[in-house]
Symmetry: C2
DNA sequence: TTAATATTTGAATTTTGTTCGGATAAATAA
DNA sequence: TTATTTATCCGAACAAAATTCAAATATTAA
């Protein structure tokens, strides 16, 4: 028999946690570094006001959320007048599969870190990128094993 | 006159937030996706028990915490019997400046993403890496501009 | 169909975050 | 130096959120 998934909350949580919807554990930090929790609170607020903290988020075991395939992609842009690397990079960064996007110095213009379920899904994403106006060529480096991501050991 | 910083809590917070010491905002998520907060709680606990979530952490504006210099480093290992790439990668990952560490398929064996205050600091880290037994050569790609990191837009 | 398991939910409890005011320390100006 | 302003620290009171619990409902397995 076919059932409608009860609420199917898991994927919604994953989406939210990728970019935020977390918050500091003031009490735990206060205990850890042996200061008053109000002092910790004050210092965190200051960091946030300075803009030093962009988000509080979750780090996943990506294999367990169907994003186990990870690739570093270099992109070379076509050299022509009026081309805007920043604008193109914003296009790349918009994809939810793109974990990071940087402009580089040197022979390659851009590096992207992309996470997908598998090679097939990766190819679809890459195809979209290659199709964009301004992309001359790309080269991909497939990650065989990840032992640290986002400063977190796996 | 010279004063001792009162408590100097900021760097301690940054160190803790890089790897954890955060937690989900259950009430906010519940409101966002219009479910009972206890339902959200239940689903998050399940994700954690599955091991799908490795940590809750902060994402920084790295320029503002003196880690504005970012480099992708490829490492090639010396091909010899008994060499263990995994062991060497663990050595690399141990550095706090290393944001991510992966084993690659292809011409390069390892890619590291490294964050430091500036080029001088970066050179010190790289020197340590090059000094390790088993490293044949490296090549670095300097990030000129970061627009997305850890799935967070900057 | 029945039994076992997983998920959802509200009420009660516990824990945590936040505000506020005053104290202390540091930086700045006189 | 000394006076003044600003930044940081921290306890008490309060507000908000997380967690536990028990029961209802949905799903899966037998």
């Amino acid at each position: 028999m076919l059932y409608s998934n009860m609420k199917n909350i898991k994927p919604k949580l994953i989406r939210l946690f990728k970019e935020g919807y977390c918050t500091p554990q003031i009490a735990r930090i206060a205990k850890k570094i042996k200061e008053a929790s109000t002092t910790i609170h004050y210092n965190i607020k200051r960091l946030e006001e300075e803009g030093a903290i962009k988000a509080y988020k979750a780090v996943f075991d990506y294999k367990k959320i169907d994003e186990g395939f990870c690739v570093f992609v270099f992109v070379k842009l076509t050299a022509k007048k009026g081309a805007d690397p920043d604008k193109l990079l914003s296009e790349f960064a918009r994809y939810e599969e793109v974990e990071s996007a940087d402009i580089l110095a040197g022979e390659w213009d851009i590096i992207l870190k992309i996470r997908t379920k598998d090679q097939d899904e990766y190819y679809k994403v890459l195809k979209n990128i290659l199709a964009l106006e301004g992309v001359e060529k790309t080269t991909s480096f497939i990650s065989l094993k990840q032992i640290k991501t986002e400063f977190v050991m796996l």
